[in-house]
């Protein structure tokens, strides 16, 4: 259970025409909780995820994980040492590797070895309905299967935090419910602190404990608590393919 603190973070992007993407953003996520981020395109959601992951350096403020500063004016822990899983909007799959190769590659740098590694791989393949597709490459998978692979790959190493950038975009209703269910279960089991970016309130409600709106790089108002999230098979299931407003 990792506690995430984002304290007065500011970030500008661009080389010649610099644009302030985030301004004085302060947020806290309790360990094992999921924070939903919503906002218009260009409001800074993805940049915030990239700062948490350590893929970008911040200009001002501080990011702490478990009380330890990982990003700040004088500190930047490299992305590879933060133990963070990231599902990118573009998925970022490796076209030359099979499903098995994807999981092997990220597990290579993890502490899992031998049987434990095999067991973890099998669990993920099963949870994300990728069994039987181990030898296929991304080009041989359907759009939905590619999303599943990207999520499974993010969860494969020994991570303490999961960052999801519109991970369900392009999935149909039934498949989305299945993925949300599997993701919710794994999150609960591993007590993964999660930040989810989405435009879809159904997805945000299904996984998040709190919801935050970003507008032009600012947090609007206070985080709104959501009812305890439950997946489609967790009792109070969301409507299949439903889009609650």
């Amino acid at each position: 259970m990792s506690h995430l603190e984002i304290l007065g973070v500011a970030k500008t992007l661009g080389e010649s025409d610099r644009v302030a993407v985030l301004r004085e953003v302060t947020l806290r996520v309790q360990g094992g909780q999921c924070l939903g981020l919503k906002g218009a395109t260009g409001s800074g959601k993805t940049t915030l995820l990239r700062l948490i992951a350590g893929l970008e350096r911040l200009d001002q403020g501080e990011i702490r994980i478990d009380g330890l500063a990982v990003s700040g004016p004088k500190v930047h822990i490299p992305a590879g040492r933060r133990r963070v899983g990231f599902v990118f909007q573009t998925l970022g799959l490796w076209p030359h590797l099979s499903v098995d190769g994807h999981l092997d590659y990220v597990l290579q740098a993890s502490p899992f070895r031998g049987d434990e590694r095999v067991r973890r791989k099998r669990e993920l393949l099963q949870a994300f309905h990728l069994g039987g597709l181990e030898n296929r490459r991304p080009g041989e998978l359907s759009g939905g299967e590619r999303h599943l692979l990207a999520i499974a790959r993010a969860l494969a190493p020994d991570i303490r935090m999961l960052l999801l950038d519109e991970p369900f975009a392009g999935l149909d209703g039934q498949l989305r419910d299945l993925v949300i269910d599997a993701l919710g279960r794994i999150r609960r089991e591993r007590q993964l602190t999660t930040v989810l970016v989405s435009h879809d309130i159904f997805e945000l409600r299904a996984l998040s404990n709190e919801l935050v709106y970003l507008r032009e790089g600012h947090v609007v108002g206070q985080p709104s608590p959501l009812p305890s999230p439950r997946g489609p098979n967790g009792g109070d299931a969301p409507r299949k393919g439903g889009h609650g407003a």
């Binding site: 893929l55 590879g80 990231f86 990118f88 573009t90 490796w94 590797l97 099979s98 290579q108 740098a109």
Partner: protein, 554 residues
């Protein structure tokens, strides 16, 4: 792609400076600035400066003319390339005109001109005496080929693939939603000229500028077609043993080139930034409306490769001697050049791989600018600097380092010269390849704790096999046809094929010249197409092994 970190930036700057050392050293040879631009006789100095200025003007006109020809063929070819599935073999096919050595192209065109003048089987006009005295303004009364437009045409027909290869990725990006929206609102031609072409204007400018620079610094074609350009003035100083004077004479062209190279680098940097925001390209499909592109591509291939080579075939067939005699002469120089070109191509491929593996998520603008400068300055200028460097090293190698000078195989300096002259190609292709990768693929590996080196080896390199092979192919064919470096740096007793051919061409166009031209053209084509086929096969084989490698034996 990210800007390099301070530490990597320093490494790039040191490497770039090392690449430019030979250019600086070329000023240290015999002769000085005063020899070229100032003398005690003011009249002579003025006329010498005027001579250089006129030569520079001729070089610039040739550059502009070649640019126009290259754009005429390169733009439609790029459009076609962006609209159909590209295999390495198809790309190699499109690069054939670039693979044809300039001296071979001249042989072919001259034979056609000769046939047009006399008819098949007639006696060849005597060119030998004419070549021995080169007039300043080109030959008059010897046909339109012996003129600035003639040189520009021959060069433009060989260099148009550069425009096509520069433009094609931009057309792929432009061919997305923006172009399709324009198609809904007007004709394909209007959509092309109003949307696709303006969206690719950066790459268009880059391609045109690169062709201009290469054509303006050409020595071979202008020398064979008797147009006195600045690279010929530079070569003449070098022939007199005045390497320093040669460097000072080349200075105006170098300054022009340096400015253009900096401009080109800015264009590339801007395009790189723009393309990062346009997202991935769509998978190409063969669509309607590409007939014009296909026709012009076929014409470009015909005029840039098939036609000149066919001229050499006619030259051999039209001679009275046996074919074996025609093909036998110059075989030894061909062997020398093949060995050295293959060595240079392999080193170029390794350099591209090193660039990808060492800095997979960083730009290397400093290296690219230095590489570009080395590519487009007159080759003799670079070669004389390398010669100074080699001579200096040999003279000062003593004590524990003496064995280094002794162990250096003959021709190593020449192979190094090829690598340095064409180093821009692997650097540029590697960077282009890295630009096409989705940054998320590298970032995911970074998040999983993989080092930069492992990201390069495990993620970037396997996806960029095609770029490595393209670098290898292009350096091979360009080294095979290179004249300035070969002429200056050939080891004692070994004559590279381009030098042999060039010398024979100045003595007259005999069946031996056509026979060897044909062999050189065929070797370049076989190398290019063979590498294309081999690359496709290797890529298929290679991808089966990446999984096992990625698992680390798990």
């Amino acid at each position: 792609m990210r800007r390099p970190s301070t530490r990597v930036g320093i490494v790039h700057a040191v490497l770039a400076a090392t690449m430019l050392v030979p250019l600086a050293l070329s000023f240290s040879g015999g002769g000085s600035f005063a020899d070229v631009y100032l003398t005690t006789d003011p009249g002579a100095a003025t006329s010498r400066r005027m001579l250089l200025f006129e030569a520079l003007a001729r070089s610039s006109w040739i550059g502009l003319g070649a640019c126009a020809v290259a754009l005429a063929f390169g733009i439609p070819a790029a459009w076609l390339l962006s609209r159909r599935k590209r295999t390495l073999f198809f790309l190699a096919l499109c690069a054939l005109p670039l693979a044809l050595a300039p001296s071979v192209a001249v042989s072919g065109w001259l034979e056609w001109w000769s046939v047009a003048m006399r008819g098949l089987g007639g006696a060849r006009p005597e060119l030998t005496s004419a070549f021995r005295q080169m007039p300043a303004g080109g030959m008059t009364g010897m046909g339109p080929l012996f003129s600035i437009p003639g040189v520009a045409l021959v060069l433009g027909l060989g260099l148009w693939p550069i425009v096509a290869f520069e433009l094609w990725p931009a057309f792929i990006r432009a061919r997305g939603d923006a172009y399709e929206s324009a198609l809904l609102a007007g004709s394909p031609a209007k959509a092309f000229f109003r949307v696709a072409l303006p969206m690719a204007r950066g790459e268009l400018a880059a391609g045109a500028l690169l062709v201009f620079l290469l054509a303006a610094s050409d020595f071979t074609v202008s020398s064979l077609l008797l147009v006195r350009t600045l690279p010929i003035e530079v070569h003449d100083y070098l022939s007199l043993g005045k390497a320093g004077s040669a460097a000072w004479a080349a200075l105006p062209l170098v300054l022009l080139i340096g400015t253009a190279a900096a401009l080109l680098s800015r264009v590339h940097a801007r395009d790189a930034q723009a393309s990062e925001h346009t997202g991935g390209a769509r998978e190409a499909q063969v669509t309607s409306g590409s007939r014009w592109g296909a026709a012009i591509l076929a014409l470009g291939l015909g005029m840039g490769f098939v036609f000149p080579l066919a001229g050499c075939v006619v030259g051999v067939m039209d001679s009275a001697v046996s074919w074996s005699h025609a093909f036998k002469a110059g075989l030894e120089p061909l062997g020398v050049s093949l060995r050295l070109s293959i060595a240079a191509a392999i080193v170029a491929m390794l350099l591209a791989a090193a660039r990808i593996v060492l800095w997979p998520n960083m730009r290397a603008r400093t290296l690219n600018v230095a590489g570009l400068l080395v590519l487009v300055v007159p080759g003799t200028f670079l070669a004389s600097g390398l010669l100074n460097l080699g001579t200096g090293l040999a003279m000062h190698a003593s004590g524990p380092f003496e064995w280094v000078a002794q162990a250096m195989p003959a021709g190593m300096l020449m192979a190094f010269g090829y690598v340095l002259r064409f180093v821009y190609i692997p650097m540029r292709l590697a960077e282009e390849g890295l630009r096409t990768l989705d940054p998320a693929t590298l970032e995911t590996a970074e998040l999983a704790g993989q080092s930069g080196l492992m990201q390069g080896l495990g993620v970037a390199l396997p996806q960029l096999w095609g770029h490595l092979l393209a670098a290898e192919m292009l350096v091979f064919v360009l080294a095979l046809g290179d004249l300035p470096v070969s002429d200056t740096l050939a080891p004692p007793g070994a004559v590279p094929v381009s030098v042999w051919l060039f010398q024979q061409q100045h003595l007259g166009y005999t069946e031996a010249v056509f026979g060897l031209s044909l062999l050189v053209g065929a070797a370049a084509a076989a190398g290019l197409l063979g590498s294309g086929l081999l690359g496709t096969a290797l890529r298929k084989l290679g991808t089966r092994r990446w999984d096992a490698w990625a698992g680390g034996g798990a």
